[in-house]
Amino acid sequence: MATTNTSPDQRAVDSALALPITPKRMGRFNRWDTPWLNRKLLTGAAIVGAILLIGIFGRLFWDTDLAFTASSPLNLPPPGFVNSRGQEGTWAHPLGTENSGRDMLALMIVGAPNSFMVGVVAATVGMTVGVILGFSAGFIGGRLDDFIRLISDVTITIPTLMVLIVIQALLPVIELSTMALLIAAFAWPSPTRLIRSQVLTMRESGYVQMAKLSGTSTFSIMFKEILPNLLPYLAASFIGNATGAILAAVGLETLGLGPQRVPTLGGTIYFAISGAALLRNMWWWWALPTLLLALMFIGLLLINLGLDEVANPRLRQASR
């Protein structure tokens, strides 16, 4: 028997599913049974999408200039609440203001996409490098593989935040893009390792061997046979990477090492902590950016879990 590694039940189901499906069934099968339409994935995407929409369309409805220092009254609570000085909130600042006169709603609208951007840029760069290195290591092998594996094994264990703290403490100016690229410099090892191991597995698999025997070029095997099958893994790895990058960015920002010129969610938390927002009970100051970030991370986690189930059908079955 060709498939000796699967359990007997699995094999029975496999062989059952390998049977011809009538055209009528086929249509239904394709439309509704795609693993990509998965509840976790959709919920996560909805959460992240909503946060992004607030960032993109929010500026159409709200004056983002209010995110600048001294553009609004100081320390105002949201409407319906009273701050420690007895001031009541107004609808002019529906989420309140902080201690240097910035409007919280404007800060959220401008800050959320900034924090998200860092993640996307760092993950894209890290992913691209990872795909190139992973494929090279897996396909070319030999010395190159040894070298790439060593460097990624080494880099992956370095506590990125510590390195970034030292670097950013020494940089005169930090732009959003600088921070994203610095984070990206540590975001490639995990996609590299993932793709390398997947390529190694797939290289030995039947269909790639068949493609090789039939004289298909290495390049086209890589992109036509292997890459499509890696898609769910790549997507999950991308989201994981973006999560890690945002995590690093938020860490740096809350330590006051973020970009100085644009507001970020982490930067807002930094100011809230240095402004003793907790002790002054200015919950709107620290809680809003914290909640928004927490939501963003929950959304990303759900996407990742969903993608995991797409990539690994066994998990899907078990979660039913």
């Binding site: 670097i167 860490g251 907790l278 914290t290 995991d308």
Partner: protein
């Protein structure tokens, strides 16, 4: 049990050395790629923050001299590496003449202690719950309850720290707001002191545990499901073994192996998260040292603490790597 071969040891040890060297070099090189030199940048930041610093030119020149920034780059680099090997990080700028080594020496035990407790709880709790999630024998109710506890998973620990601080320290006043023990106490082995340490350490440790145990639970669940499909599980069941024995000796024992590898890989993230938590709770560990050094622009301290944390992480990874062949019998053979 497996065995530890010399070849494996040497390979892991050289990875350890390369890690340290690479991190140290990155820390040194990247700031020097930026225009200007680090000292000017630092003083520049000071000026931006303080508004005006007297005699800034003299300060810059003085520091340039002390850091040897007037030497050629290769000379600086070799001297830098030499200092690291001797664990000599120089003096703190803010608390001269205290050395960086002294500052780190005071803070490190707190960080390591808190980290050990938090990470041990996280790893065992997470894997245990993950195993329960995947195991057939787990009661349905438990299977529904565990995911509820995992809502914090993947949220940065610093965010969890802020929430916990607000709810349990500020609002409910069950736990102290800051510090690692009651202010004014002298560290001793008295019951009173230890109680105070536990009382102060609970929320910081909880912040780390809450955000990361779910990660382990999910990973463990995935591994358990994979193991469940293995042929040896069929045979184990056919043998009529006790289900709890099968769970422990066949499923968990095999599923935990990749988790240990994952543990080594994520240690860096854990350390970073912990540092940020310490800063939120003003816990007298490395995180707090780093934060006040950042505020004081005390660069030698920033560099020293970060390097020590990188070193500790690499050391922990090395130790895990060396233990690994003892728990996975297949490893020592792969290399030979």
């Amino acid at each position: 049990m497996g065995r530890l071969t010399l070849g494996y040891f040497l390979r892991r040890f050289s990875i350890f050395l390369v890690t340290i060297w690479l991190a140290a070099t990155l820390i040194w090189i990247i700031p020097r790629l930026a225009p200007g030199d680090p000292i000017t940048a630092m003083v520049g930041r000071m000026i931006r923050q303080a508004g005006y610093v007297e005699n800034s030119d003299i300060i810059i020149e003085g520091w340039r001299e002390r850091f040897g920034l007037n030497d050629s780059l290769p000379v600086q680099y070799v001297r830098y590496l030499g200092n690291l090997v001797r664990m000599d990080f120089g003096y703190s700028l803010a608390y001269f003449p205290t050395t960086v080594g002294e500052i780190v020496g005071r803070a490190l035990p707190w960080t390591v202690g808190l980290l050990l407790v938090a990470v041990t709880i996280t790893f065992f709790l997470g894997n245990f719950l993950g195993a329960l999630l995947a195991w057939r024998g787990t009661p349905k109710l438990v299977k529904y309850l565990i995911p509820v506890g995992m809502i914090f998973t993947s949220i940065p620990s610093i965010l969890a720290a802020i929430f916990l601080l607000y709810i349990f320290a500020f609002f409910l006043d069950w736990f102290p707001l800051t510090g690692a023990y009651k202010a004014g106490m002298t560290p001793s082995l008295s019951i009173e002191f230890i109680t105070s340490v536990i009382h102060h350490g609970t929320l910081p440790a909880l912040s780390v545990v809450l955000v990361s145990f779910g990660y382990w639970a999910l990973g463990m669940r995935g591994m358990m499901i994979t193991v469940e499909g293995e042929d040896y599980m069929h045979l184990a069941r056919a043998k009529g073994l006790n289900p709890l024995y099968v769970l422990y000796r066949y499923m968990i024992r095999n599923a935990i192996l990749p988790q240990v590898t994952a543990f080594a890989i994520t240690l860096g993230t854990l350390v970073s998260g912990q540092v940020l938590v310490e800063y939120i709770f003003a816990y007298q560990g490395m995180g707090n040292v780093i934060f006040s050094a950042l505020r004081n622009q005390d660069f030698p301290v920033i560099q020293g603490t970060s390097f020590i944390l990188i070193l500790m992480t690499a050391l922990a990874v090395l130790i895990i790597d060396l233990i690994y062949p003892l728990i996975d019998p297949r490893i020592s053979y792969e290399r030979s």
